[in-house]
């Protein structure tokens, strides 16, 4: 066992025992505790839990790599702005009102505000979005285990499944929330410590957000030497348009992700929901303003011809140890096209037709390794490498558990309780929720061990679907009283349907993609913005010509706009309002 493996094991064992202990302390028995932690989580803790829930393997492991390597450097800003800017939408347009509305799940709001058709489409959207997303988390867990602990991918995923199963099934939302608070602490420490260390050794300035400034101008120069676009250069034409659409899709998608929205129900009241959003974005921003710095440091270390541990112009027989470790697990490789036995990073070293995703000169680098490999590349000691691995696991597990809970509440609350067995007791509902979580974990684990080709496209699928499905009809439902049930159901179906069809036809899901992007050459990652527009236009259009919501419903919508106590909202929560009066139809 190497030093790195030993330290990784130490940190993994300590953090995992900690999570299990917390979950055991906060186990629950009733549905209110299981789905929304009894609505009693203080705002800073709720904010930290939202941050951990939100920051997945994609944020922790991949983000810096996406920004620094996937394109010239600047284009990746779409992810930085998109994944944080969505919280402004959440805080200002959704969180306070949904909290006042007071139901457990996103489909609950859709079903109550509109009708059962809309609820059903929303349930399908929630399950599809969450399963896609959770598969990516399990794959992230597998990467960390196989690289740092030398265990097989299958065992890595299995250990992850058992841990998540234990605390999600036992603790429900309450257990998950308090575990996520711990996981946030682990992941942010694991992210910031190496960033500070690298910034001070590389630039002499300990604050990475400042040291970063010195590095980007040098990156501009190195990329120019190699024949790449400048690191900081802005875009124009189609690239500019696609970046804009991607940012819109990511922002609206963030605000429409069911496992994030549901967290605002765990806040104590409307005021606490607002503060939760503030704390959440603050905690998220700590990582998000650091990620581009880590990405730039890492790219600088790898491509700078003068850095001791880099790859630019290094003979293939003489690569540094960190490279060999990652090459062993297949996440970095060199395609020596000119056969000179030296890694050539020039932009024209590999003909464009032969380039694969992650190609940089003759180097092929997986985005996912940038953060995990950076401490090794920079020569930081083994305990820090182990800490980063534990942080990556915390990020993946916390997001996976939040998603599993969203799936479970959609199945147990919106399908089992609302459709199949409305007379179910509290115990039976919690049991159904636990069975649903167990089922979802097995599906997620299967995808973690046998990652389908689309895992790399998770962003396109999950965010595009969330942006085009849930976000617009929730916002319209709150801000425009006259949005009708038929309007929302048609908008949901049109926006979600368009995005879904576009994604499955243009993304390689099984084998090759069926066609090239057929709508104005917009890439699948950016298409959610168009789906969103379609949803809004159809919802408004159809709402103008269909029966208006009942007066009681309009009054209820008006009531959720004010944070104080309200008799009508309370009557709605206890089910005291007659269905006929609320929806203008019975058998709702």
């Amino acid at each position: 066992m190497t030093d790195i493996q030993l330290w990784t094991l130490v940190f993994v064992v300590i953090t995992f025992s900690f999570y299990i202990y917390i979950a055991y302390r906060s186990r629950v028995r009733d549905t209110k505790g299981f789905y929304v932690a009894s609505g009693g989580v203080p705002a800073p803790a709720n904010g930290a839990a939202i941050a951990a829930d939100w920051m997945s393997a994609a944020s922790f492991i991949s983000l810096a790599g996406i920004v620094a390597f996937a394109t010239n450097g600047y284009f990746g800003s779409a992810y930085l702005m998109g994944w944080t800017g969505g919280y402004v939408l959440l805080a200002l347009l959704l969180a306070p009102y949904l909290r006042k509305f007071g139901k457990y799940t996103v489909p609950d709001f859709v079903g109550d505000r509109y009708n059962e058709t809309a609820r059903l489409i929303a349930v399908i959207a929630v399950i599809l979005i969450s399963i896609t997303y959770v598969a990516g988390q399990m794959a992230g867990v597998g990467i960390v285990f196989s690289r740092f602990l030398g265990v097989g991918l299958e065992w890595g995923v299995l250990i992850g499944m058992v841990i998540v199963f234990f605390y999600a099934v036992l603790g429900g939302m309450k257990g998950i929330t308090w575990t996520q608070v711990a996981q946030y602490s682990v992941l942010i420490v694991a992210y910031l410590i190496p960033a500070f260390a690298i910034s001070s050794t590389l630039t002499g300035n300990v604050v990475p957000q400042i040291g970063f400034g010195e590095i980007v101008s040098q990156l501009d120069a190195i990329q120019a030497d190699l024949g790449f676009d400048s690191y900081t250069g802005a875009l124009e034409g189609e690239a500019l348009r696609n970046m804009f659409l991607l940012t819109v899709a990511l922002m609206a998608g963030t605000a429409g992700l069911p496992h994030v929205i549901v967290r605002f129900y765990t806040a104590k009241n409307v005021r606490a929901a607002r503060y939760s959003a503030l704390w959440a974005l603050f905690f998220i921003a700590l990582l998000y303003v650091t990620a581009p710095a880590i990405g730039a440091f890492s790219k600088f270390n790898i491509i700078n011809p003068d850095s001791g541990n880099g790859l630019n112009g290094v003979p293939i027989a003489d690569t540094p140890e960190w490279y060999n470790n990652w090459a062993d697990v297949g996440l970095i490789s060199v395609n020596d096209v000119n056969g000179n036995g030296v890694i050539d990073l020039a932009a024209d070293a590999v003909p464009a037709a032969e380039a694969v995703p992650g190609q940089f000169g003759e180097l092929v680098i997986n985005n996912d390794i940038v953060v995990l490999a950076t401490p090794e590349i920079s020569g930081l000691p083994a305990p820090i490498v182990g800490l980063v691995a534990a942080g990556g696991l915390a990020a993946a597990l916390s997001t996976a558990s939040g998603l599993l809970l969203a799936i479970s509440s959609a199945v147990a609350n919106d399908v089992y309780y609302k459709r199949i067995n409305p007379g179910a007791t509290e115990q039976r509902q919690v049991l159904a929720g636990r069975i649903a979580i167990a089922g979802a974990i097995i599906v997620a684990g299967y995808f973690g061990v046998n990652p389908p080709a689309f895992v790399a496209q998770v962003v396109a699928i999950a965010f595009g679907l969330a942006a085009s499905a849930l976000f617009p009809i929730i916002v319209l439902g709150i801000f425009w009283k006259k949005t009708t049930a038929m309007g929302a159901a048609s908008g949901l179906l049109a926006g979600f349907g368009f995005t879904f069809i576009y994604v499955i036809t243009t993304v390689p899901i099984v084998g090759d993609a069926l066609t090239t992007p057929w709508f104005f050459n917009i890439p699948a990652t950016s298409i959610g913005a168009i789906g969103l527009l379609i949803n809004v236009v159809v919802t408004i259009g159809v709402s103008m010509f269909t029966p208006k919501p009942t007066p009681v419903m309009q009054e209820l919508i008006e009531e959720i706009r004010y944070p104080g106590k309200s008799k009508l909202v309370e009557a709605h929560l206890t089910g005291a309002i007659d269905e006929e009066k609320l929806h203008g139809e019975s058998g709702h």
């Binding site: 920004v67 800003s77 402004v88 200002l92 007071g102 400034g213 970046m243 104590k268 607002r274 309370e570």
Partner: protein
């Protein structure tokens, strides 16, 4: 709250949300994307960064946090002005 107060409260709410969202769009879509090139040229060295690039990778995120902070502060003040001291605390499923 009577009906007139409710209307006034909602109008203030919509106004503050609109103003904040305009700023939100200006820093991200404006400074970070559409005007990034112009800002890069105009201010090539802001803390070492070209300004448009800085907005895209640092500035917009910092402004987002400030926007929510202003919103939370403003809404607290608004609640106080309209005498809202008790908040709805119930959560239920249907």
């Amino acid at each position: 709250m009577d009906d007139a107060a409710k209307k006034a409260y909602w109008r203030s709410n919509v106004r503050v949300v609109s103003v904040l969202l305009v700023i939100w769009a200006l820093v991200s879509y404006g400074a970070g994307i559409f005007f990034a090139d112009a800002l890069n040229t105009a201010v090539p060295d802001f803390l070492g960064f070209p300004l448009g690039f800085w907005f895209a990778q640092q500035g917009s995120i910092i402004v987002f946090v400030v926007l929510i902070a202003v919103y939370v502060w403003y809404m607290d003040r608004l609640d106080k002005k309209y005498g809202i001291t008790e908040y709805e605390e119930e959560v239920r499923h249907s």
